[in-house]
Amino acid sequence: MEKFNVHEGIVLPLDRANVDTDAIIPKQFLKSIKRTGFGPNLFDEWRYLDHGEPDQDNSSRPLNPDFVLNQPRYEGASILLARDNFGCGSSREHAPWALLDYGFRCIIAPSFADIFFNNCFKNGILPVVLDTEAIDSLFIRVEKTPGFSLRVDLPKQTITILEDRSVASFEIDGFQKDALLQGLDDIGMTLAKADLIRNYEETRRKIAPWLFS
């Protein structure tokens, strides 16, 4: 997994609440057996005017000019500014895979859905929670300033607006912070506790043997 330390990038505003994982990556692309290549189909139904299918050449498809991802001023954006309950719905990890493959490394929202939030940390994406007031103000600033960019500093847990150097702090769980900073292999970490797992199984087997038959 790619580590996350300090990241600077252009902010893309997605001004709607309850963006679900079906919208982030529609079902037909879930037929893939790979983890990569989902970027061109990120937000497929909002982004293109036609219907997309896997293994299609996306470069010749008609773009929806009204959708924010297609607006030239946000080209190369790597920070997504979103509204409440981002990533709700299906557990598909294809959603963070698609965001990452497109180039997003950080998502800032007032709240996230649980499964999506968790999936981000497994893929080197930092989801940042800020209060609604701070989010509202960022939406206004992004709208006003072409090329609006942020510096996201995970070790310091701060977000800096590059334009005027104003700084906001954010909270993050210590384990999840470390996982991103060090690109931790959490399966390896758990396997280091294999003896604890075996001990648990031995005890549990005596109490509830039907769970092991």
């Binding site: 709607r16 609440a17 309850n18 679900d20 079906d22 919208a23 529609p26 079902k27 037909q28 879930l30 037929k31 893939s32 057996i33 790979k34 983890r35 139904e45 219907h51 896997p54 293994d55 509204r83 409440d84 309950n85 709700c88 719905g89 299906s90 557990s91 598909r92 990890e93 963070p96 709240s111 996230f112 859905a113 649980d114 499964i115 968790n118 999936n119 497994k122 893929n123 769980d173 210590g174 384990f175 470390d178 959490d186 399966i187 970490m189 758990t190 396997l191 506790k193 294999a194 604890l196 797992i197 648990y200 199984e201 549990r204 109490i207 509830a208 043997p209 039907w210 769970l211 038959s213």
Partner: protein, 467 residues
């Protein structure tokens, strides 16, 4: 010190280790696997040269991609076919039990777990699918996970997790005639919102929940994720025990007695404290329909499409306007006058035998409206299908003009050929009315099986009792 909730007890029973970093290692008793969210996990395991920790706890089944037309023994779409073949190969390579395409037990993963007795009270159950919350109806801690966590469970039988907060939703009193479990859960989501349960494990309780059949309880727990909570659960009781007894994977003999005795402990203590408590009066719940593109956008059958201008919150107002535009609806339109194109009865929410009986009781002796292009009935599993046929339900549906299909996820998420076309409007017993969920541009209204059947007959939403 206050007592423990059901969730606290399930958590404590599965706690392997509390790490100083604030996370906990939780043991997983049952891992359900399907073709869509597993290939990358199997591949990861393979590439890292890691072993599968416990294949005997794992059951796999293809469901999302499978065709449901009765004459299709093979999968025509080559991309879907490859995904299903990949599951076959991975299961044989790693030695995982699979109910394959030709197995009579094949069906939707959340239907077959309980049906086979694979789902038991007191278990931790995970699956790379958000509707894993269904299994909480048995007093299990069951929740959906991403593919990285699927790989984690395959390799370690555990998950690194942090404990959720406790919420109890009590539905008191009794339901009026014609009000179903689906109406109960849609009411709950309408009340607390799609993010109302975020960060919580929800216990459903109260007289109404107790009065529901196991099928109804599964419908309620299934849609917990639509209220934002990963896990929903109901304490096991005699109904739970009666449902499980004798099922193929259920414990037998002396082991059964021991298991049943242990399940009686799976109850929140009287003095347990919940971080949040919601109380709903069952008598006030009316049959429900969603009008928008989020499951919280729900109204009573006898009400009208809401007016965004009445909504004070500007973000919500904009969401409502966007939803109305997508759904092609005008504020103030009575829900019963909204015309429909398709009807879908199926999904892990509502495709069990009781759901099919409920729909058939409405369809019996009637005909699907000529205005309806297609009305699908997709049983949840091969065994549900067989039982329905033994009861003659398939004849009721076929005679009325419904299509009687093979089991699978089908039009709930439209990964197979069962899809809405742009602007087609569907009364669906599934769980998500998101934009494009049932096909790009398709318009979904979530309803109970009885309401879906009534809508198919009338060609628009109507009270089943009025037919």
């Amino acid at each position: 010190m206050s007592g423990k909730t059901l969730y606290d007890k399930l958590w404590d029973q599965h706690l392997v280790h509390d790490d100083p970093n604030g996370t906990s290692l939780i043991y997983i008793d049952r891992h359900l696997v399907h073709e869509v969210t597993s290939p990358q996990a199997f591949e990861g395991l393979h590439l890292a040269g890691r072993k599968f920790w416990r294949t005997d706890s794992t059951i796999a089944v293809p469901d999302h991609n499978v065709p449901t037309t009765v004459d299709s023994a093979t999968v025509d779409d080559p991309v879907s076919r490859l995904q299903i073949q990949t599951l076959d190969q991975n299961c044989s390579h790693f030695g995982v039990t699979q109910f394959g395409m030709s197995d009579p037990r094949q069906g939707i993963v959340h239907i077959i777990g309980p049906e086979q007795g694979i789902t038991l009270p007191g278990m931790t159950i995970v699956c790379g699918d958000s509707h894993t919350s269904t299994h909480g109806a048995f007093g299990a801690l069951a929740f959906g996970i991403g593919t990285s966590e699927v790989e984690h469970v395959m390799a370690t039988q555990c998950l690194i997790s942090t404990k959720s907060r406790n919420m109890r939703i009590r539905v008191d009193g009794r339901l009026n005639h014609g009000v179903t479990a689906k109406d109960v859960v849609l009411s709950i989501i309408g009340k607390i919102g799609t993010a109302g349960g975020t960060g919580y494990a929800i216990e459903f309780a109260g007289k109404v929940i107790e009065s529901l059949s196991m099928e109804g309880r599964m419908t309620v727990c299934n849609m917990t994720i639509e209220a934002g909570a990963r896990a929903g659960m109901i304490r096991p009781d005699q109904k739970t025990i009666d449902y499980i007894k004798g099922r193929p994977y259920a414990p037998k003999g002396e082991m059964w007695e021991r298991a049943v005795a242990s399940w009686s402990e799976l109850v929140s203590d009287d003095d347990a404290v919940f971080d949040k408590e919601v109380v709903i009066n069952g008598a006030e719940i009316r049959p429900k329909i969603t009008w928008g593109t989020s499951p919280e956008m729900v109204v009573d059958l006898d009400k009208s499409v809401p007016d965004p201008s009445q909504e004070p919150d500007p973000i919500k107002q904009e969401g409502m306007q966007r939803a109305l535009e997508y759904m092609g609806l005008e504020p103030g339109t009575p829900m019963t006058s909204v015309p429909l194109d398709l009807v879908f009865i199926g999904s892990c929410t509502n495709s069990r035998i009781e759901d099919l009986r409920e729909a058939a009781s409405v369809a019996k002796g009637r005909k699907v409206s000529p205005d309806i292009k297609q009305a699908l009935v997709v049983p949840g599993s091969g065994l549900v299908k067989r039982q329905a046929e033994e009861e003659g339900l398939h004849r009721v549906f076929i005679d009325a003009g419904f299509e009687w299909r093979n089991p699978g996820c089908s039009m709930c998420l439209a990964m197979n050929a069962d899809q809405l076309k742009p602007k087609e409007r569907c009364a669906s017993t599934s769980n998500r009315n998101f934009e494009g969920r049932q096909g790009q541009g398709g318009r979904t209204h979530l309803v109970s099986p009885a309401m879906a059947a009534a809508a198919a007959i009338a060609g628009h939403f109507t009270d089943p009792a009025s037919l």
